[in-house]
């Protein structure tokens, strides 16, 4: 059970202008859980795509059980026993569970037999699923079960998991880990990609660390501290954000009985939300993705209106005000989706700065734009938030995720808001940029601004927030001080295990 399953030697893949993987080598044993660590853009995805046959390496070799392994397409990789749980892009919303699973199989049995098989396997591994439900109606955790069951039905030898826990509650993570341990006990090897270092320490037997496409080291996660692993990934020392701990002021934002239907067919309606936010407070709102986070941001930004008195800003009802009217008052927001929602991808940074900064920064006069002033504002953001870009005339889409996020957050922060609402401020952002963004949020709060941070990264919320609440199916739990909250309590606030149970094979 401990023979080498997959051996990778000198794997190299270059794209125009960037070497995604440069001479990467490592081995995975049977029954081993092997972590692949690295920041965004370190080349993890390219590496697993090569193993899964989606991308062909330029040079280097892979061996499976000692024989050369060169999958020309995913079909060949699947035939060789490689299965993959994707982070994005792999389920079909309009199809049902069984159809989704059939699409990932080589020779699926007839639908009725498949449905039966799905029921048996999913219950055996403690991931109950109804094969005939439409995937678009499932929660994020349930969708992931679909992907995992799809892999398990192929009796894989190597299971690749790309960021599997980003959408799960702590309890669901624990159950997933039980399932994974069960699999490794059966001899399945797991290649596990994650940013969450504590999870890797709990689960993985070995880790390979990538930085800028190169293999920069290996470690035994259980014996290495999370901080050491993070520094191996980043290649430099990490700054931990510090809060100045200012005293809280008056209540600036008062939400009482906010209910609102979701604008999208697969969204979550907000149900009777109450919260009070004081000047200088950072409120962290956690919860599994798709439980009303996006809708809450829409309600606060004014993109979707609600009952006038449901949201009060310094005592004045603003539920019916437009986004610009709210900006004028000092309520600013930064949505989750960077390209397309927070920023217009094809417009320059100057134009993007104008889009939300126009009002408070007075970037136009009598309907005419003041370009020099707008450009100065954009340059100011770039300078103060260390946005890596040749200049304010570059298109928003040309920036990397982390840099654009710094720009988007910086744009709102520099407008000196009274209340700032951010959704997933550091999603897909590398560790050093994330630290900078969190520091900016803390500095802002120290200056007396009230901040709501909506995030699925619990470590982040624990780090920046004074108080914590969780969204669960469109309802907000009571607000509790972050200090003294245990991970179990947070998990229960987020809705517990959502009907999952520990595997009982």
């Amino acid at each position: 059970m401990t023979g080498t399953l997959l051996k990778i030697e000198g794997l190299t893949k270059a794209y125009p202008g960037v070497v995604a993987n440069d001479q990467v080598s490592f081995e995975i044993n049977e029954g081993e859980t092997h972590a692949l660590l690295g920041e965004n853009g370190a080349g993890k995805s390219t590496l697993v795509k090569m193993i899964y046959g989606l991308v062909k390496p330029d040079s280097g070799t892979m061996q499976m059980h000692g024989t050369p392994f060169t999958p020309a397409e995913p079909r060949a990789a699947r035939a060789a026993g490689v299965a993959m749980v994707f982070q994005h892009f792999s389920l079909f919303d309009a199809l049902n569970v069984a159809e989704n699973i059939a699409l990932g199989m080589e020779n699926p049995p007839a639908m009725r037999d498949l449905a039966e098989k799905i029921r048996t396997v999913s219950e055996a591994y403690g991931l109950p699923l109804d094969p005939f439900r439409t995937v678009g109606d499932l929660s994020a955790g349930e969708r992931q079960r679909v992907e995992i069951i799809r892999c398990l039905l192929q009796d894989p030898k190597l299971l690749i998991m790309d960021e599997p826990t980003s959408v799960l509650t702590p309890q669901e993570v624990e159950i997933l880990f039980e399932t994974l341990r069960k699999l490794t006990a059966e001899g399945v090897a797991i290649l596990y990609i994650s940013h969450k270092l504590e999870e890797i320490r709990a689960l993985c037997d070995a880790a390979t660390i990538l930085r800028l496409g190169k293999n920069v080291g290996t470690c035994v996660p259980a014996e290495t501290s999370a901080r050491d692993m993070a520094e191996l990934m980043v290649g430099s020392e990490l700054q931990t954000p510090k809060s100045a701990g200012a005293a809280l002021g008056e209540v600036v934002l008062d939400i009482a009985g906010l209910s609102m239907p979701s604008p999208s067919a697969f969204g979550t309606a907000l149900r009777n939300i109450h919260l009070r936010l004081r000047a200088g407070e950072v409120l962290g709102i956690g919860g599994v993705a798709g439980n009303g986070q996006d809708e809450l941001l829409l309600a606060l930004s004014g993109e979707q209106r609600c009952a006038a008195s449901a949201i009060k800003f310094k005592g004045a009802p603003i539920g019916q005000l437009s986004p610009n009217a709210r900006r004028a008052l000092g309520l600013l927001t930064a949505p989750e989706e960077r390209l397309g929602h927070a920023a217009a991808p094809n417009m320059s940074l100057t134009e993007n700065a104008l889009l939300t900064g126009n009002l408070r920064k007075k970037l136009s006069q009598n309907g005419f734009l003041n370009w020099s002033k707008a450009r100065n504002f954009a340059s100011e953001i770039i300078e103060k938030f260390d946005v890596r870009t040749p200049g304010p005339d570059n298109a928003a889409r040309s920036l990397s995720g982390g840099n654009l996020q710094k720009f988007v957050i910086g744009r709102e922060v520099l407008q000196e808001p009274e209340v700032l609402v951010v959704n997933q401020p550091t999603w897909g952002v590398d560790a050093s940029a994330a630290a900078a963004i969190r520091q900016a949020i803390l500095d802002l709060a120290a200056g007396g601004t009230a901040v709501i941070v909506i995030s699925q990264d619990l470590d982040e919320l624990m780090e920046v927030a004074d108080n914590f609440a969780a969204l669960n199916e469109g309802r907000l739990t009571e607000v509790r001080p972050t200090q003294g909250l245990t991970i179990e309590e947070i998990g229960l606030m987020m809705g517990g295990a959502h009907g999952m149970e520990v595997a009982h094979v």
Binding site: S45, L54, F92
Partner: protein, 306 residues
């Protein structure tokens, strides 16, 4: 006004005939859109099919060969669209509109020497007992083969989409092309095949107009049937049987209003002429108010990057 001149059996029989062109074009476009491609060139492919089928029938004297060439002509024009949108990643809306304009021009050019000719008539079905049945025989069993082919095609498309692996893969590609690609399906190849199928169907629909319904060649003779077929697919919520229903509704009202005109009903002709369009769309809009929605990748350009 004399409504008694309207014969219900003949009315129903001509309904099936009037519905066939948009039914064929619509079911083809439905397959294309379920694969995630929006081809607005249906009108252009229909008229190209109409002239190709007409020419082939005049030259060979066989309507069957005419229909085959019509399908090839429609598919040929669709291949141009596939080339533009799937390989050079051109915008689908613009390419589709261009295809319609191109098809209209090309067909007038090809058809210059064929104006005024009369094609050999397409044989009608004549089953001894069935076709002689009173009423039912006239309505159901005395049409040309294309009428039955159209209905059979709807059933086939429905069954393939619902019950076969090929249909599942096609729907998956239309729903989320990135995911389909990640699972190893050939998105571009599947879409090109769907586009060719759609072109062939549109070509058949066009030829049905020039060979059976009218039957002769005039410039621009499809007269917007391609656009109706497109609207039909959308308002039928991308469901095959609803396309059939919509086509029959359109055909039925078309035939009925012609009969009304002939019978001298006291409604201005303009209103009668617009009635098929209005009634079909109103009914389908009401029906499409349920939860069904467009294929999620419809009209989006796919490029297998990284």
């Amino acid at each position: 006004m004399d409504l008694s001149a309207i014969n219900p059996a003949l009315l129903l029989a001509s309904l099936l005939v009037a519905a066939t062109p948009i039914l064929l074009a619509g079911i083809g476009e439905l397959v294309v859109e379920r694969a995630g491609v929006l081809n607005l060139g249906v009108e252009g492919m229909m008229i190209t099919g109409a002239i190709c089928g007409f020419m082939a029938t005049i030259v060979t004297g066989t309507p069957l060969l005419g229909f085959i060439f019509a399908a090839l002509g429609g598919a040929g024009l669709a291949f141009l669209f596939a080339l533009l949108t799937q390989y050079t990643l051109a915008n689908q809306v613009a390419s589709g509109l261009a295809l319609t304009l191109f098809g209209l021009g090309l067909s007038s050019l090809l058809g210059q020497d064929y104006v005024g000719l009369k094609p050999p008539s397409t044989p009608q079905l004549d089953i001894p007992v069935l076709s002689d049945l009173p009423f039912l025989g006239t309505v159901l069993f005395s049409h040309d083969l294309m009428v039955y082919f159209g209905i059979g095609l709807v059933a086939a498309v429905w069954a393939v989409l619902k019950y076969t692996r090929a249909g599942l893969v096609l729907r998956a590609v239309g729903e989320n092309h990135e995911a389909a690609h990640a699972l190893g399906y050939k998105v571009v190849r599947i879409r090109v095949l769907a586009i060719l199928f759609g072109g062939a169907c549109a070509g058949l629909g066009g030829a049905y107009i020039s060979l059976v319904r009218v039957p002769q060649w005039t410039e621009g003779m499809t007269a917007g049937a391609g656009w109706i077929a497109l609207a039909l697919v959308v308002f039928a919520s991308w469901k095959p049987w609803r396309v059939l229903l919509g086509a029959w509704l359109f055909g039925g009202v078309t035939v009925l209003q012609l009969n009304f005109q002939a019978a001298g009903v006291a409604i201005p002709v303009e209103y009668l002429s617009m009635s098929p369009y209005i009634i079909t769309i109103v009914v389908l809009v009401i029906m499409s108010a349920d939860k069904s929605r467009a294929p999620a990748s419809l009209g989006r350009i796919f490029h297998a990057s990284s």
